[in-house]
Amino acid sequence: MKRTLSVLAAASVAVFTLVGCGGGGSGGPLGGASSAAPATPSGVIRVGSANFTESTLIAEIYAAALGAKGVKVERASLGSRETYFPALKDGSIDLIPDYTGTLLQYLDKSATQTSSEEVYAGLRKVIPAPLTVLDKAPGEDKDAVVVTKALAQRYNATSIADLAPHCGELVFGGPPEFQQRPDGIPGIQKTYNCAFKSYRSLDVGGPLTIKALTDNTVQAADVFTTDPSIEQQGLVALADPKNNFAAQNVVPVINSAKATDQVKQILNAVGAKLTTQTLIDLNGKLNAPDKPDPATVAKSWLGQNGLS
């Protein structure tokens, strides 16, 4: 036993010395996607997506639209914005669909714009080289504080402001990063003076979150406004009168080097047809029990809209 302890002590000293000297590298151990892929070869556009189905869907739409017109594409699946944005900047991926409001706040934590036009203008100013944003789509997918109908009725709440006095009794569920995002828990607290009892890290507005709401594991949750489950499961998205959640238009973020005129034209044409209702419908298709492949759903939508 004593020997084990002394070995452990010696090992710890050795380990910490090594750690002190080594490690670091570029971005440290969490280079995210950068390690998985070198910079893309010219002529090929690597389309990334985040860790939720809608992002995968839109990425597949972009990829299929580009591919249909002869542009070479590859796909890559990444994680949250904190994971994929560094990959965009260092060229591991070239293109990703994003949302104007949260992207602006990620790049500029002090941003206060909330309207669609203002947010987009602000975003264009702060997007770092070599990246650029193309046209924003009319379709929006915002975070929302969602509760069950029963709870909304109990507290007579139609907006987050109505819920504020009761927040301290409620458990909130959402993706892990929501706890730190400016419009997430900190924003809700600041804007509405609503501090939840505790936070439960679930998935990114996906089936787990919906289930947690309906079986009362959490009483309020971060769900996306284009999620068909809100209606299907009898949930209520509380209104956001003070605009804690800024406008969230879908927008392609692309490496300027790969943004040729042809590419820009294809992506803007696709974006023009991406309305909020379209997003809701396509999400509904993806949720079907036989779990169709997002690529298939993407291609058929493009075909129906004369974009392929």
Partner: protein, 220 residues
């Protein structure tokens, strides 16, 4: 259970399976190659044994997920680098096998070793032709445990983004898709059982005297 999903995604499934096999097998081989000399050393020298065995015990106690996360900080690699997984699991395998090897070598009857020396075997040849083969059964037992453990541990790596069959679990979880998860579980279990059976057969093949004993015992 959506059976149609499986053939539709055959390429993806096979790709993940292949990644998984590589990520779980490489550490076992590396671990074995490292553990044999270390185990031999531990068996030979009391001092070596008193350092190696407790160290192995500590390293074995530290959960592999911890190694997946902490090793990059020490080695300066990225978490998602497959080398990271292989090193972490190799460390775990060595920690497990060193004790097996040391004990197996220690269990070789001293009479046999003495006879070999008397017959003129030099130490190296004696090790290779006599001591090591006699220790194989215990070694195989350790390898079986290490291999099955590694197969399960690689899938845990999916939690931090590593590939293999584990990504079938995490993807199935995110999409609320049971079929994908069940496919991953079945493949993982089959892989583990197959690896176990292969090692068991290998062990029997490499120790023909155990089969001879068995049949001699039956006819006696």
């Amino acid at each position: 259970m959506i059976w149609g999903w499986i053939p539709r995604n055959g390429a993806l499934i096979l790709g993940r399976l292949g990644e998984h096999v590589l990520l779980s097998l490489a550490p076992v081989l590396i671990g074995l190659v490292l553990a044999v000399p270390l185990g031999w050393l531990a068996n030979r020298s009391r001092v070596a044994r008193s350092i190696l065995i407790p160290t192995a015990g500590v390293l074995y106690t530290i959960p592999s997920l911890v190694l997946f996360i902490v090793l990059p900080g020490i080695l300066g690699t990225k978490i998602l680098n497959p080398i990271n997984v292989v090193v972490a699991l190799a460390v775990y395998t060595v920690a497990l096998l060193v004790r097996s090897v040391a004990d197996a070598l220690a269990a070789v009857p001293s009479m046999v070793v003495a006879a070999a020396t008397a017959m003129g075997f030099r130490p190296t040849r004696r090790f290779v032709s006599v001591e090591f083969p006699l220790s194989v059964p215990v070694l195989i037992a350790g390898l079986r445990v290490a291999t099955v453990s590694n197969i399960s541990l690689v899938s845990i790596g999916a939690v931090i983004g590593l590939g293999g069959l584990g990504s079938l679990f995490t993807d199935g979880y995110q999409r609320n898709f049971l079929t994908e998860v069940i496919t991953g579980i079945v493949l993982s279990v089959l892989l583990a059982l197959l690896a176990d059976a292969v090692l068991l057969t290998l062990g029997r093949l490499v120790t023909p005297w155990s089969r001879a004993d068995a049949s001699a015992g039956k006819s006696a």
